[in-house]
């Protein structure tokens, strides 16, 4: 509310009737980034699980990349929230004062569970054997680093590898519901706010989950292609074709669920329907119809659908997959935008609107959001250097 001190200033941004505490948006672009980044984590992990648990061999080249991508984004996932806090230096209080009366207070534990018990452990068991080998191959400081990373468990016997394999598999199995919990939880945060008709739907956790899978799969497809290109290696077309197939099916499910939610809303047409209709056709028209549905769903679905009927040449397919993955990533970003920002644009009196513009000059939100989206790529580059999947000895799974 610091943005407008006087009613006179605030009025220029309003339409109709609005309550005083709705004039300035409390959740800005940084809060859009939070479900977006968390979704990328859950989606990338689920793609890795497809290879491990469901034994989809074609996805093998992306297994480690998916896990490391998930970890890179996971390490940053809380940062948009922390930097959005009015008192960021008090963020740790959420972890030292656990209680069950607020869904948000539980996030720290959902996050820690997923980071510590799922992601780090799965990566550790997957890489332990290789880290032992690398610790012997490397000299000096790097040898020491790999030894530390193995926790000085230097056993390379076939039996120890089988143990790694078994426990790794078990963690992946536990990891799938955990990934569902992580992003379902993010959807729950919005879906459980009964005062806001744009958010309050039991479908929200499911929609968030499927959109997370869509965005994570698109991200891994993008990263796999770019990393392989940068390494001057040949892209495994069977792999990207398979990823694209899963992306296509899950995008259809995601779009169907979102459509079902909207159809239900339209048919039910409760007292909030009129204001939501004006919202969607007015302030959200560009971000909802053009970006989320047009760029994020229709273009990728039509392109991938056409490619399934008539497969173009390899070179064209590569370019199209890159474009599709970017379109999907942009579309899901706007989905988050429409949920987070859209839900705050209309008055809960249902008689008016406020407005929101990303402040690029004086506001810190835009630059911080950009920073938190870029940093994971640097973390990923470091992790790929430290734990290169292409230098791994073929695991026994």
């Amino acid at each position: 509310m610091n943005k407008y001190e006087s009613l006179y200033e605030a009025l220029a941004n309003l339409d109709g009737y609005i309550y005083p505490n709705e004039i300035a948006l409390n959740w800005d672009l940084l809060i859009v980034m939070y479900p977006y980044i968390t979704g990328l984590v859950a989606g990338a992990f689920i793609l890795a699980s497809l290879n491990r648990v469901f034994a989809i061999k074609a996805l093998r080249p992306t297994y480690e990349i998916s896990l490391l991508t998930a970890l890179s984004f996971m390490l940053v996932a809380t940062m948009p929230l922390i930097t959005h806090l009015g008192q960021p230096w008090r963020f740790y209080e959420m972890l030292v004062t656990p209680h069950l009366t607020s869904a948000m207070a539980i996030f720290g534990f959902v996050y820690l569970w997923y980071l510590m018990v799922v992601l780090l452990l799965e990566i550790w068991f997957d890489y332990r054997y290789d880290m032992v080998i690398w610790s012997k191959q490397k000299k000096g400081f790097m040898s020491f680093v790999y030894k530390v990373l193995t926790l000085w468990v230097l056993d390379t016997s076939p039996q120890s590898r089988r143990t790694d394999e078994k426990i790794g598999y078990f963690i992946t199995v536990v990891g799938i519901p955990s990934a569902f919990l992580l992003h379902g939880y993010v959807g729950f945060i919005f879906g459980s706010i009964k005062a806001n008709p744009w958010w309050s739907t039991v479908m929200m956790p499911v929609i968030f989950l499927f959109s997370a899978m869509v965005s994570g799969i698109a991200l891994v497809m993008f990263i796999y292609m770019v990393v392989t290109y940068l390494r001057k290696q040949k892209i495994d077309m069977n792999t990207v074709d398979t990823i694209s197939k899963y992306l296509f099916y899950i995008l259809i499910i995601d779009f169907s669920l979102e459509s079902l939610d909207q159809i239900h809303r339209i048919y039910e047409a409760d007292e909030s329907f009129d204001i939501l209709k004006i919202l969607v056709h007015g302030k959200l028209f560009f971000t909802f119809f053009i970006m989320q549905i047009g760029v994020g769903v229709i273009i990728p679905l039509l392109t991938m659908g056409t490619m399934m009927i008539k497969k173009p040449r390899e070179k064209i397919r590569k370019i199209l997959y890159l474009i599709i993955s970017i379109c999907v990533l942009v579309g899901i970003f706007y989905m988050r935008w429409n949920v987070v920002i859209g839900g705050q644009l209309f008055s809960k009196s249902f008689y008016g609107f406020t407005s929101y513009k990303v402040d690029m000059i004086s506001g810190s939100g835009f630059w911080l959001s950009l920073l938190w989206f870029i940093i994971p790529f640097f973390i990923l580059a470091f992790l790929l250097w430290l734990l290169p999947p292409w230098k791994k000895k073929e695991s026994i799974h």
């Binding site: 001190e5 006087s6 009025l11 004062t97 510590m116 068991f125 926790l151 120890s160 143990t163 008689y351």
Partner: protein, 146 residues
């Protein structure tokens, strides 16, 4: 038990120990004083600088305007609703308050709105009523007449 698991259990035990230590040392003093939040937060919020100084403060200098307003229909409207928060102006009179001159501002309350009671707030169609002329050219907002 495999050595990997043993080693990880040690790591987790250390982690949980550190977390419990942090919980012990970092839990705010007034946590759960009244409920699951810092009790001190209430006094901290109450101690924040008030930005709206209230009508009585304005009347200490602008007494003639306050007297005029007390005779008119805007008697119950706080000065700062139209002029913005006065905390800076109170400190330094050279910092100007907002003076709305545009009719759009008046229309915030006086435009026709079926949800408002006409017996309390006079409502008009600005174009029909004054053909675009600013409200303040005929009405004194400190003592509006009907």
């Amino acid at each position: 038990m495999p050595i990997q698991v043993k080693r990880l259990l040690v790591v987790f035990a250390v982690f949980i120990g550190v977390m419990l230590g942090l919980k012990y040392f970092l839990t705010p003093e007034s946590w759960r004083e009244f409920g699951p939040y810092r009790g001190k937060a209430l006094t901290e919020i109450a101690d924040q600088e008030a930005k709206y100084v209230q009508m009585e403060t304005c009347a200490m200098c602008h007494d003639s305007i306050a007297d005029l307003k007390d005779q008119g229909l805007h008697i119950s409207i706080q000065c700062e609703i139209c002029h913005g928060p006065g905390y800076r102006h109170v400190e330094d009179e050279n910092i100007d308050m907002v003076i709305p001159e545009n009719s759009d501002f008046c229309m915030t309350c006086h435009a026709i709105n079926a949800a408002r009671s006409t017996s309390i707030i006079k409502q008009i169609d600005a174009i029909e009523h004054s053909e675009g002329e600013d409200c303040i050219s005929c009405h004194n907002p400190h003592e509006p007449w009907l």
